[in-house]
Symmetry: C2
Subunit: 256 residues, 2 copies
DNA sequence: CGTACTATTGATGTAGATCAACAAAGGTGG
DNA sequence: CCACCTTTGTTGATCTACATCAATAGTACG
């Protein structure tokens, strides 16, 4: 594993395809689309890729220097300490378009590792520069706070599901969560391409590998989902939502 | 249950005891202590109390109008929908000094109810006004983002504990979490006065009432804690931390 | 063609939910 | 003051969901 920071940097001068699948739209969620400040933000962003699976974006304890958004790919967030059981470390996953690094603000250093699950393209944004820009565009602060606040809420809900649901319910919750988050970014909510092995998904849901397998089988047998390898099709979202005690607009319903 | 907004409002003109156990210090965490802007923030804050236990501070779906900080007391956060099992609704607890409402930013409306567990004193801060002040003191945005980001991380950790730990481990985690959060606000980390019934704490940890009781007994028998009613003394924090797979500075170690 | 890694399936044991009874504490009204 | 009820906590007995152990494929990759 080598330091990825030195390779695959696309010089800014060569890339002016703003908002074209890059992190800009994701970070700003449309706020700056047509503002002149969008250009300024654009200039602060640094794109990197392709980076191979396994690349460490940042490690726990590292000082927060930049926010990071995956353009294409996915990452796993994990605790720093090696546990006896190596599988008990996954804290969560980061999908394309989701801002990574906000949870580092409290201590000014990253609380977890971030490791790429697939070959990925990422955007980076020095936090210092962002602060500078935000001083001129206060809405940017508001936007970051929105994203962060949402993450709080989502995590609370998932925590509730984890502590109280059956294995099948957890899996349903996990799948709906992924679909929900992908739908937000304009990706298909019906067909999920799991960026991680099934077992790792199960593990993050607190399930043993074989329990995960059985839960997948169960959902398939009920006709709620169609699973083919890592391709998961959600056939009956309402049923899944019911099973998972999901209590918000289901993934197919786009939120504003 | 009546609308609490109309009673027990202390006119601002009568209260100039700034930073004296009020939410100001809590929200600003010392940032504005000596700045002239502290006065401005001070003027925006509205204190209320005493409010009786059971008071609904806000309900899910309500638009976000103000942030709220408990000065004395505690609150329970719960889902809006009535489940078959009424106990499966607790999302979390809010302790004195913790900002409530940031999770409402994404949708601009509160995702959960907030109900007082005890007779409490609270501070309120209209979000509009806060935005105005933050425009002049950008550090305030940063501070809010810090708090929110920290909440994200804490919730992720708890989620991990919930999904993978034994009953005793969960309880240990829950107690350490409370102690940790109280210690941050300068309260004792050794002796916890549970603001909620034990069973409700257990419930939030995904434990049945009788399992909660047994877990308490176990921790007591090991000599890790001394429990007398709602008074819990943490006798062996390292042991608890080990059991809970706690992986951060233990409550007695004050973080900067 | 072997060595990982990932997934499936069966057999077994156990942690904890559930059911049920009871005890202690706090409130309320007579 | 005491009878009464509600809330909260404890303890035992049973039952089940899931972890665990173990074996076997299927795939990918060197």
């Amino acid at each position: 594993m080598h330091d990825y920071r030195t390779d695959n940097i696309t010089p800014l001068s060569q890339r002016r395809d703003r908002c074209q699948g890059c992190g800009l739209r994701n970070i700003c969620f449309g706020i700056l689309h047509h503002a002149p400040e969008a250009d300024m933000l654009e200039r602060l962003i640094c794109r990197r890729g392709p980076l191979p699976a396994g690349t460490v974006l940042f490690e726990a304890g590292e000082p927060l220097e930049r926010l990071c958004v995956i353009r294409v790919g996915a990452a796993r967030r994990e605790r720093a300490e090696r546990c006896e059981d190596d599988n008990q470390r996954v804290i969560g996953f980061s999908l394309p378009g989701e801002v990574m690094g906000l949870d580092a603000l409290y201590e000014q250093r990253h609380p977890t590792n971030a490791v790429l699950l697939q070959n990925s393209y990422v955007c980076e944004l020095p936090f210092q520069s962002l602060q500078g820009l935000a001083a001129q565009v206060p809405q940017l602060w508001h936007q970051l706070l929105r994203l962060s606040g949402d993450a709080v809420h989502q995590n609370k809900r998932t925590r509730l599901a984890m502590s109280q649901q059956s294995a099948e319910g957890r899996l349903a919750h996990g799948l709906l969560d992924l679909a929900h988050r992908m739908a937000r970014r304009g990706m298909s909510a019906e067909t999920i391409d799991l960026p991680m092995p099934r077992q790792e998904l199960g593990n993050q849901l607190g399930l043993a590998p074989n329990t995960t397998s059985r839960a997948f089988r169960y959902l398939g047998e009920q006709g709620w989902i169609m699973a083919d390898g890592r391709q998961i099709r959600l056939l009956d979202v309402p049923a899944l939502a019911d099973l998972a005690n999901w209590s918000e607009p289901t993934p197919t319903v786009r939120s504003a």
